[in-house]
């Protein structure tokens, strides 16, 4: 039964991918949606078993690679951590499958799309249920591949293709670190299975490695390398540039892959490796810093973007930052909690924005929207719920998870902790502002679209609204219901062995005034945003014109793309050209084969001149030689 959770999506993908032509569009949609939904129900059942009966299982499916001392199995590990991920992945995936039936109804390549979605689900499940690092890597690259396919799904669009390649290659940069991390683990422990590696961790705590003349602690190096992989997949600052571009893909893809599941794989990796990370305070601090920088950076950029999907993409990036700094301060369970709640409300926001885009016939610029809240009442209401949950409005799911992150950062009690808590509060405020900006500019104010009339905008069909509705239930209640289970203060019964805490998390509570800051700011931000973006629209413009350089800096996303273009893309192209034309062409061929052959040719031309055929020339040379010989003999 457990195995069918993983393999049903694979079967769905094969049926739809290879036989979609024969069984028709509608049947492909039904088959994939049904199979993935069954998988989702089974996952929920498994999670229930895990919660109630402390069910754990490690199923070995087959051997994969066994070379020397390296033994890798295809396997399925069920423990609390993977059970939670199973539910997140399969349930969001099932809803996205159903939603796609409506969203992609005008697309000519439906079976292919559904096949990719199911294949992605399969790869993601392989990732979360692995019991070793190499199968994890398989899933890791597999989801990357599906993401590549889906971003570039509209293959005729040049920008979509470019974004797809960018996503894959930037992820490969992260994978480069990840792979090296795996090599190092194998080098140190002689195995890549989680349980065996984690067991041996305490024995290498004091081990040092020298690399390029530096002495580094082995544990720190492992953690850093694995984290580089996580940064790539979870779009953390420096390796984040692919995520906003990935919005070129169809919106359901953005909801499933670039919000709820794949991008959280990095967080999952860090949490899964908590038995390693716990021994490396240095890298945990580094993770905190990276996480909060990303959270802040992405929130500032989201403030000024005008593409509805890009705003939500930067918001995702920012929320992932929150998860990382939760993990960085050692509150892995809180990171998982935020991952869990975020999956619901962010998928809701994406699918909701998809519904808006659908209504506007593929318009994505929020400046060309507005005033349609009466036309799209359900979408509007659901988007509001998503926004409230995201911003952490009291008693919705984001409130529980995000505030818990800030609290634990504060409770950490060291400089990074306080700093992170401060940035966390500021970012929560920014999050609230940009989220409401999105809502107000999309649904309120005047109608600004010149291409289609307001009468032509229409509410989405039921097949799209029902998944939204189910997600909104999660967005409202997930926090309240699962808080005790995921982060119940003090006791750590649910996570059991799957998350390791070297020291138990602090059970104290921060002072009341601290607890009240974030909710107050969040509440305050709604009227502020309303004033700015509905009441007094000139104000934002005048602020922009006053701070032109800052605005440009934000609109251009801190100039990361431009920087990388110069640093990496242009320079490697130039280098390639140089190595090809100059090194291979001029130097190697010029002095090598071509040079030698032309040299020999020249010599032989010279040599042929000796054989002129004139007797007197030969006689003259003989005479010369003869006299030279004679001279030599006489002098001797």
């Amino acid at each position: 039964m457990e195995l069918s959770i993983i393999f049903l999506p694979l079967i769905a993908s094969i049926i739809s991918g290879f036989f979609g032509k024969y069984i028709g569009d509608r049947n492909s949609e039904i088959v994939t949606s049904v199979l993935v939904s069954i998988s989702a129900l089974l996952s929920i059942f498994v999670l229930y078993q895990v919660i109630v009966n402390q069910y754990e299982e490690n199923i070995v499916i087959a051997t994969w690679i066994s070379s020397g001392s390296l033994d890798v199995n295809w396997s399925m590990l069920i423990d609390p951590l993977s059970a939670v991920m199973l539910v997140v992945v399969t349930s969001v995936s099932a809803l996205v499958h159903i939603y796609s039936i409506g969203y992609m109804s005008h697309d000519p390549h439906k079976p292919r799309f559904m096949a990719y979605l199911s294949l992605f689900t399969f790869a993601m499940l392989m990732l979360v249920t692995s019991d070793n690092f190499i199968q994890l890597f398989f899933g890791w690259e597999g989801v990357g591949l599906c993401s590549y396919f889906l971003i570039g799904f509209w293959f005729k669009k040049e920008s979509a293709n470019a974004a797809a390649i960018k996503a894959f290659v930037v992820n490969r940069v992260g994978d480069f670190g990840f792979a090296l991390g795996i090599f190092l683990i194998f080098y140190l422990f002689g195995t890549v299975n989680y349980s065996e590696v984690f067991q041996q961790i305490p024995t290498v705590v004091d081990k040092n490695l020298s690399f390029l003349g530096f002495e580094v602690k082995a544990i720190d190096l492992i953690c850093l390398l694995l984290f580089i992989g996580a940064m790539g997949k979870s779009a953390q600052i420096l390796l984040h540039t692919w995520l906003p571009d990935a919005m070129e893909g169809p919106t359901p893809v953005s909801a499933l892959i670039h919000a709820a599941t794949m991008v959280t794989a990095g967080v999952f990796l860090v949490v899964r490796c908590s038995p390693i990370y716990e021994y490396s305070p240095l890298i945990l601090n580094f993770i905190t810093i990276v996480g909060m920088t990303t959270a802040f950076f992405a929130a500032t950029v989201a403030l000024v973007q005008t593409d509805i999907k890009k705003i939500i993409a930067y918001s995702t990036c920012s929320q992932l930052g929150y998860m990382f700094f939760a993990a960085g301060v050692g509150a892995y369970n809180v990171a998982m909690f935020h991952l869990f709640t975020h999956a619901f409300f962010k998928a809701l926001l994406f699918l909701g924005s998809g519904s808006v885009i659908h209504a506007f016939k593929d318009e994505q610029n929020i400046n060309n929207m507005g005033g349609v809240w009466k036309k799209l009442p359900y979408t509007y209401a659901l988007m509001i719920i998503g926004t409230l949950a995201l911003t952490g409005f009291p008693f919705l799911s984001g409130f529980y998870s995000k505030d818990a992150i800030i609290e634990f950062a504060y409770l950490k009690g060291n400089t990074t902790g306080y700093y992170a808590a401060g940035i966390g509060i500021i970012t929560a405020f920014l999050t609230s502002i940009y989220s409401w900006r999105l809502i107000f500019k999309t649904f309120h104010g005047e109608y600004n679209n010149k291409v289609i009339k307001i009468e032509e905008t229409h509410e989405s069909p039921l097949v799209m609204l029902v998944p939204l509705f189910i997600l909104s239930i999660g967005a409202v209640f997930a926090g309240f219901l699962f808080k005790g289970l995921f982060i119940g203060y003090g006791d750590n019964l649910f996570w059991a062995e799957s998350i390791k805490f070297l020291e138990p998390l602090s059970t104290e509570h921060p002072p009341l005034w601290f607890l009240l800051i974030t909710p107050c700011l969040v509440l305050l931000s709604i009227p502020i945003a309303y004033y700015f973006f509905v009441k007094n629209k000139e104000l934002p413009n005048s602020i922009v014109s006053m701070n032109k350089p800052l605005y440009n800096f934000l609109v251009n996303k801190w100039y990361f793309d431009e920087l990388y273009d110069v640093l990496f893309i242009k320079s490697s192209k130039k280098l390639g050209l140089f190595l090809w034309k100059f090194c291979d062409g001029t130097i190697i061929d010029g002095f090598g084969p071509d040079g030698i052959s032309s040299f020999i040719k020249k010599c032989s031309i010279k040599a042929t001149k000796f054989q002129s055929g004139f007797i007197y020339q030969y006689a003259f040379v003989m005479l010369l030689g003869f006299s030279a010989l004679l001279t030599f003999l006489i002098l001797k």
Binding site: V169, C583, P593
Partner: protein
């Protein structure tokens, strides 16, 4: 050992070639010729599969040995296989029939002679992989040049003569030193029998020079940086079947030679020169990947990517780790399949459009979807995606390298990023995007024989990606033994 199975493998294609020699080529109808060639090679493939089944995986000693006196007291015709060579033999017998099917579309004139060249080449290649006597090995190794020289020089493209000579002289020049080394080994030890040489060993004081002499030959054939410049030219000018043979099998002779002779005969010297190999391999991986990024000609791009992939192979061999060497062997088998497939996919569109330039294409996916799917699979295998055979090889190599030398593994891993960049960019420019070239609208999708060939290649790429055990089990004992032998030699020094 009663039935001379290896000799039959070697001789059968030549006998087939002889048959062809006596069939008269008719205008327009060459089915008989093709069927004779195909039949020969398929039978050969089946024999080699039988060989694999009958092969005993639990021992590292050579099996199916045939030993006949050739020149008394000097050279014995000795052949035999161990776990390492058997895989290369099967690769050869597997790729050759596919090449023969593929000539349907690409070779228009002198088909009979072309097939004779291919069959004879197969004989020589199998000879190389089964030879257990240095002289016999050398003869097969060098003889393989001749049919390839003819294939490029006669059936090649516009600059075929330049490329054929470059190929021939480059590789011949490297091999001259190997011949000298073989002769000196005979003078030093009194035998050229590899099995005996393994036992008695070669005096340490000669090893360095001898190693360098063998290296000069293998480095050119691999090809390693900086003696790789013949390869892009040869590939670009060769007809599709020629490119396939060249990339899939000819390049593997050198990798095989490194394992069998450099490591086996000169263990101490191999240790001494490991830094040299590392440096050249890493340079090959990074430089040629960057060069591949900038190519405008599809075949040249794949040729340069071959150099990078072979860089991984040489790197893995000299890590002298179980994972490294096994990874190298799997990488060679995998590259044999993948590069063959990639050259064939380029061949498919070349036959239709007569252009190898990337800029000619774009938007193919909307007109020829089957082709696009298979091309995608091969591109992914080439960039080493988990689930394809390319991943197993590359990952094991890097794992082995990491054990031996951090820095090398780190730099080589950058090649993996670049590999993704050039392969996906190639694919995007050829297959995705809008269909702008009007001529492409009429292009036909894969016909039955092309579909068959490419599927035959896709199947093992995927199968071994998910289940590489059959390969690893075959080589495991031989590789372990090789490493043990090496280690005892180092210690006793």
């Amino acid at each position: 050992m009663n039935f001379p199975i290896l000799s039959s493998l070697i001789l059968l294609p030549t006998i087939g070639a002889l048959f062809l020699f006596f069939i008269k080529e008719k205008e327009g109808n060459n089915t008989t010729i093709k069927y004779v060639a195909l039949f020969t090679t398929v039978v050969n493939f089946l024999i080699s599969i039988y060989l694999w089944i009958a092969f005993d995986q639990s021992t590292s000693s050579f099996q199916f040995i045939e030993d006949r006196i050739w020149i008394k007291g000097f050279i014995n015709y000795k052949v035999g296989v161990d776990g390492i060579s058997i895989l290369f033999i099967i690769l050869t017998t597997f790729i050759t029939p596919l090449c023969i099917i593929s000539v349907n579309n690409s070779v228009k004139n002198k088909l009979r002679d072309f097939l004779i060249a291919i069959l004879i080449m197969e004989s020589f290649m199998i000879g190389v992989f089964s030879a257990l006597d240095l002289v016999v090995f050398y003869l097969f190794f060098e003889a393989g040049l001749i049919p390839m020289f003819l294939i490029i020089g006669i059936w090649g493209g516009a600059r075929r003569v330049y490329s054929a000579f470059k190929f021939f002289l480059y590789t011949l020049l490297g091999s001259v030193l190997m011949l000298v080394a073989i002769i000196s080994i005979y003078w030093i030890t009194g035998t050229t029998d590899v099995v005996q040489l393994y036992e008695i060993g070669i005096d340490v004081k000669y090893q360095n020079l001898l190693w360098l002499a063998f290296f000069s030959s293998f480095a050119v054939k691999t090809p390693m940086w900086p003696v790789h410049t013949w390869l892009p030219d040869a590939h670009v000018e060769a007809p599709t079947a020629g490119s396939v043979l060249l990339a899939a099998i000819l390049l593997k002779m050198a990798g095989y030679g490194f394992i069998r002779f450099s490591l086996g005969l000169f263990p101490v010297a191999s240790d001494v020169f490991t830094p040299l190999i590392y440096t050249l391999s890493v340079i090959a991986i990074i430089f040629t990947s960057l060069i591949a990024l900038m190519q405008e000609d599809m075949k040249k791009l794949i040729a340069y990517s071959s150099v990078a992939h072979m860089g991984f192979v040489t790197l893995g061999i000299f890590t002298l780790q179980q994972q490294g060497i096994e990874g190298s062997i799997i990488q060679m088998i995998s590259h044999g399949l993948v590069s063959a497939a990639l050259f064939l996919t380029v061949g498919v569109v070349y036959d239709r459009m007569h252009s190898r330039l990337i800029s000619t294409y774009g938007g193919l996916v909307s007109v020829i979807p089957k082709y696009s799917i298979l091309f995608m699979l091969f591109a992914l295998a080439s960039l080493g995606l988990p689930g394809t055979s390319g991943f197993i090889g590359e990952f094991l190599i890097l794992m082995g390298a990491f054990k031996d030398n951090f820095l090398v593994a780190v730099i080589a891993s950058i090649g993996v990023i670049l590999g993704a960049a050039y392969m996906l960019w190639l694919y995007k420019r050829v297959v995705f995007g809008k269909l702008l070239n009007e001529d492409l609208k009429k292009i036909l999708d894969l016909n039955r024989s092309e579909y068959f060939i490419l599927s035959c290649l896709a199947a093992p790429i995927l199968f071994f990606g998910f289940y590489p055990d059959p390969l690893i089990n075959t080589i495991e004992v031989s590789v372990t033994d090789l490493i043990n032998m090496h280690n005892t030699n180092i210690v006793s020094k």
